[in-house]
């Protein structure tokens, strides 16, 4: 505890002994010491209980407004500015992802994962999450602006064919679509090609596909276009409506808020 933690760490830098902290993401342990394994700002997450140790981690994303307790001398974190966040986080079990449907079959739907939503953004739901479902941006942080940019380009039918090989592919099996009446699911009434789906990863799957599920109220289709090509709005948990033609289409809709 005698040595103070650095604001910025580089790979291979010794941060603290394991006796005083627990190792979090972006760090590794060697010889009972915590070392940084990526370059970035050092964060300390205070312990949840008295007996547990604080978790030491190296942030993969730029500093947020929730300034870490370790570095009160970093006031610049309020202005993320031009540094764009990059999502090189991998889908892991239980992580929430946004994906675009690329193929619908009788037993499964194939999707390609666009964004792995940041854990901190999905845990403390302080409002920015519904921005993905509505068409009016409510001015979230720069991360969510970026997600909107990704989604709006992905929902555009012109961009559908490109860079699918560069994205992680996933499957939504028929029995993972919803929690009730699993045997009556008709995939064509749940997803269409081009829909943007919010799902959660249930398995890393096999060599080529992750497995997703949408069997929760807040999971399902968040953005969809009708047959006429207009962006639709949700009217119930299984129906979306075209604002221009008024035609209704069936989807497994995610709860918008």
């Amino acid at each position: 505890m005698a040595s103070t933690l650095p604001t910025l760490a580089i790979p291979g830098q010794r941060l603290a002994p394991v006796s005083s902290y627990a190792a979090g993401p972006g760090t590794h342990v060697q010889n009972a010491n915590i070392y940084a394994s990526i370059a970035g700002p050092v964060l300390v997450n205070p312990a949840s209980s008295k007996t547990a140790k604080s978790t030491l981690s190296v942030s993969r994303s730029p500093l947020r407004k929730a300034a870490p307790a370790a570095s009160p001398s970093a006031p610049k974190s309020t202005a993320p500015g031009p540094s764009k966040p990059r999502y090189n986080t991998l889908p892991a079990v239980d992580s929430i992802v946004l994906a675009r449907v690329t193929r619908v079959q009788k037993r499964q739907a194939t999707v390609s994962i666009l964004v792995v939503l940041d854990e901190s953004a999905s845990n403390n739901k302080s409002g920015p999450q519904p921005t993905t479902t509505t068409t009016t941006p409510t001015g979230g942080s720069s991360d969510n602006d970026n997600i909107e940019a990704i989604l709006s380009s992905a929902a555009n039918p012109e961009n559908h064919s490109n860079s699918d090989e560069l994205r992680f592919q996933a499957l939504i099996r028929k029995e993972d679509v919803r929690a009730v009446e699993k045997d009556r699911v008709v995939m064509d009434e749940m997803f269409r090609v081009g829909d943007i789906v919010r799902g959660t990863v249930i398995s890393l799957g096999d060599q080529s596909f992750y497995y997703l599920t949408t069997a929760r109220n807040d999971l399902g289709v968040v953005m969809a276009r009708s047959e006429a090509g207009n962006m639709m709005f949700p009217v119930s948990w299984k129906e979306m409506r075209d604002p221009v033609t008024g035609a209704a289409e069936l989807r497994k809709v995610a709860r918008p808020f």
């Binding site: 910025l8 993969r60 970093a74 096999d206 060599q207």
Partner: protein
Amino acid sequence: MTDRRRINGPPSGTRPAVFASSLKSASGDATERPRRHRQPNELRKIFLKTGLIPSASGSAYLEYEPSASLAAARSSPQSLIPPSSALKLACTVHGPKPLPRSATFSPNLVLTTHVKYAPFAARQRKGHIRDASERDLGVHLETALRGVIVAERWPKSGLEITITILEAEDDRWWGDAPDSHDAPWGMMNVLAGCITAASAAIADARIDCLDLVAGGVAAIVSDDAVAEEGSSSTPKLMLDTDPAEHKSILSACVVAYMPARDEITEIWLKGDHSKASLGVDDSSLGHEALIDGAINAARGAHTVLVEAVLESAERYAGLSSSDS
């Protein structure tokens, strides 16, 4: 009809090759081998910058300081042929990205490395298809990096590291005749540069690493100044040798070294100095001394690497405007 049973001479006369090194200088300032002005344990300055290629998830550019002779030749050119060259290379890291469909399941990060010389990088023009030496460099680089990356944190994904060498080191002085000590010595300097640059680019891509691995080169050279006097050519250990500056390199070693853990992930030793008569002062001029020299050179490169990665982290964290 030519006689196939005998080795025939060429049909027309040929002239023997004349090398600049064997020419007696008539005007006095004829072409001369560049000399090393640095101390034996002094490295060339390194320029290293990360994040230059926006489309890649991580990138780095590395450049060695031109030797004094090259700098002099550039300021007042006497010949169209530069006396030596200085390493310049760019490294990009793409990924982590999904594996190709044909690949089998991998619970770890799959690392692929490509090293390519630009066609204009060396004195001999390189083709567009990677040749054996470039593939060899790629394999060496992969072994150097595989020991550093924490691969199990990135299941089912691949990482592609591509290095383009814009200017390569010479294997020997261009005016020299090929001799028995010939070997691609310049490749070892190139590999050390590749390791350092790739390490910076991987850190820039935020891939988990055990440490920043740095490359370093050391060589045992027989000092040509003494050799010209005749009797005793004392082999000496030099760090970060420029092959153009030395008449004969007996052996050289390149290591990829992790200073924080004191571990070597890649070692490449080439040459033979067992027959060299050892000087009195360098009584311990063995393989270990050579490896230690390469490690010292890597430590030097590591200090540059630390600065470059810190700069990357500051820019990334949005602290670049702060007074640090």
